[in-house]
Symmetry: C2
């Protein structure tokens, strides 16, 4: 056994004023032990000797040694030297961050709003009011359904703007649509549900949430009008997830007859309709169609979020749940994470109530519409063989590729030119879905859209004439 | 079939300036249909007649009818009257809020800090800086592990204050400790784990998270020094959840030998240690003991949150995960809810980095310590037969009842006097745990503590002398 001389300890006390002397010494010694500089079973210098070397009182060293014995870094025995205890403190692991994505000069990634337009000033005002007005109890754990102020504000807003039939008692606040869907799936699963119909193609994240809950995701075809409701009858499912306002990603709007057919099927067969009211706020050619929840509030779970209207970083979403089911969904939310941050909820309630949300949407609609028009014009000009699909709505456009085109190769060639476009691969379930490319246009200027599409088209001679 | 006369429609257009005329008419008609006032199959007045009644142009009514046809409330046929379509829009469900708890004048509910002391001014300054400094990309979806700024700030803070050995790449941000635990359990389950040891008694919410992940919670006894590590050997578990800083709820601090024994067991048997660093910030008699994670960073998942130090409503928690496991835990977080709100994360990073968190803790420690002392004094004075347990730390105190006392009856009598105290019932697993009462003292003034305990003691003659 080796007795360490104080000169070998190489400990210095950083004079950065960060807390008491013994605390700094402890931190230095922990680091030395962890790094292996002080090996296992090494006898430490006496408290007297170390104190003299460091120019501190002996009490400081005694206190540091006692603390590190308590924490398990040192062992102390009556009458014998204090020693380094832990035999196997491994070195600090190397960083393991994700590799960065390849650089894209023009990124048409879908599913995000233009966050550079986020109304920071108005949001800060709402935050300040929320923090100023909140009672102390509002800083505690939230009601499992969410803050009453926000549930009331959302019910009023959705009833007015989306034609919903919501009472604030049916509203459950979540951290975005994905979490809301996961909560509903967990309740479905607990009730013995097995199969959930999803649109084909559809958002992969939603399917993952269904599968993670132990349910099977059953693909149902879509056409230019959205979900093929007639195909549900044979699917023997316990629920259906549908994007009637703007099918994601093909862009169809579910027409009145199919909405009626969907509700009739649900009334007859008793499955749950989960309505993802995706993109409903952004319709450019006419007033948006009210949600299905308003037609059948005891058969529909409605879901929405602030991720596409304001910013994904807010992580605020909501469900309108049939009254009989609302408390069970809220109970899962409570068990999962004890609720969504209360000040954010109060700020969003203020933001809605003061009309800031409406104001922001009114400001953004013409901006996105112009970008959509710029994209359509650029595609028509540079890649006329692509066939745009869907209604004038939303933040993305799907364009079908000519039959036989390899969509992955197309996207890879675009990426080589610094243009990010996205294939249907992750959206597709088993079954025939044509080759298509998704362009998210919400975050790019009109000039960038034109330049990006032109640059992409340079490698696509065979697609530059209409097919 | 009945043709509605315009005078029967009873629709008026509210002149509240809330959007275009046709939108207001649509909303009135939706409400009338949903309420049953307009029955199924009712023929609507002609657009011309309704426009005349309302004093609006015919185009307004045409637009409203078309919209409601699209939404499924009305049906329209060439040449025949527009009719009320949906046969079965049920009435709006009644509110189904939870019943309010009985009124307690003195509530010793544990597990909450005194949120009336929440540093609102400092938090608002951090929020304002976060919102002002955030790049646009920081308003998008967060990195699956959390914002790098916060992970860096937490690693620095926990390494300094808690003796952790964390690299920011190992930190995963969650919405509080419960969610973090659920994430870890899901990864354990996917790896084939079956059994997780928990302390007996322990927090019911943590056990629920383990069970909800499909794992079995196996109770291990605690004594006045916390977890009986020697009992782990026979338990054949894949992981252990432990509260070494201040056993919840019995208040023991795990001593050096047991820490070493725990790490040695983990090294030998390869289970995961999940360290809930509960209450570590509040130790009143001496410097807190550093966390176990610092001793064995590749065998320990460390978890903490701002819920007990700042406010539960913030919903911010963190994990330090062994490097080899960090990305998988983060992937579950991403799938669960796409991450925690980014502005809150940036604000908390600012709050930590500027020393506001330390400042708040320094301010709160003497306040809580005085409340604890007041509680101990009041118990000694009024209920000397109760035996307080645990170390001078934390936000709650457990007191053992004399053998044979019915703890539920004790708590019920206290509630009748307007005093809320909490039994060990929800904390107890199978196996012998004595009768005890938990007093959360953090949110009550010293006077309220004294008065509440005195009032409670009035009904407890047999407990008013030392046993």
């Amino acid at each position: 056994m080796q007795q360490l001389r104080t000169s070998e300890l190489l400990v210095t006390l950083p004079d950065d004023g960060s807390g008491p002397l013994h605390g700094r010494l402890e931190q230095e010694l922990r680091t030395a032990i962890r790094s292996g500089r002080l090996a296992a079973d090494t006898a430490m210098p006496s408290t007297r000797a170390l104190a003299a070397q460091l120019g501190v009182s002996r009490g400081v060293v005694v206190e540091a040694y006692e603390q590190l014995v308590a924490e398990g870094y040192l062992t102390g025995h009556e009458r014998s030297a204090t020693r380094v205890a832990c035999k196997a403190v491994p070195p600090r692991p190397a960083r393991d961050e994700e590799p960065s994505a390849p650089l894209l000069e023009f990124d048409f990634r879908p599913g995000r709003p233009d966050v550079s337009q986020f109304p920071r000033g108005a949001w800060l005002r709402s935050l300040r009011r929320a923090l100023g007005d909140a009672g102390n109890e509002q800083l505690g754990y939230p009601d499992r359904r969410g803050m009453p102020e926000l549930r009331e504000a959302l019910a009023t807003y959705l009833n007015r703007v989306r034609g919903a039939a919501a009472d604030s008692g049916q509203v459950v606040i979540s951290n975005g649509f994905s979490q809301g869907l996961a909560l509903v799936c967990e309740v479905l699963r607990a009730d013995g549900a097995r199969r959930v119909a999803v649109e084909n193609p559809s958002h992969a994240g939603s399917r993952q949430a269904i599968i993670a809950a132990g349910l099977e995701a059953v693909g149902i075809p879509v056409d230019e009008d959205g979900l093929r409701v007639d195909a549900l009858e044979q699917a023997r499912v316990d629920a259906v997830l549908v994007t009637p306002a703007h099918q994601y990603p093909t862009g169809g709007v579910l027409p009145p007859e199919r909405r009626a057919e969907l509700v009739a099927w649900a009334t007859r067969r008793n499955p749950l309709i989960i309505e993802d009211d995706y993109d409903a706020e952004y319709r450019y050619d006419r007033e948006p169609i009210g949600c299905i929840q308003g037609l059948a509030p005891d058969r529909v779970v409605y879901g929405g979020s602030a991720s596409k209207t304001l910013a994904p970083g807010l992580r605020i979403g909501w469900l309108i749940v049939p009254a009989a089911m609302a408390d069970r969904v809220a109970a899962v939310k409570e068990r999962t994470d004890n609720g969504t941050a209360t000040l954010d909820q109060l700020a969003f309630a203020d933001f809605l109530t003061r009309g800031e949300h409406d104001r922001h949407l009114r400001r953004m609609r013409p901006i996105y519409r112009q970008r959509r028009d710029a994209l359509l014009a650029a595609l028509a000009r540079h890649l006329p063989a692509l066939r745009p699909a869907g209604t004038a709505a939303g933040l993305h456009l799907l364009a079908w590729l000519p039959k036989g085109t390899d969509e992955e190769a197309f996207a890879a060639r675009a990426a080589e030119r610094g243009v990010g476009v996205y294939t249907l691969a992750s959206y597709r379930l088993a079954g025939p879905v044509d080759a298509g490319i998704i362009f998210g246009y919400s975050g790019l200027s009109e000039t960038a859209i034109e330049t990006g599409i032109r640059r992409m088209a340079e490698g696509e001679g065979h697609l530059r004439a209409a097919s």
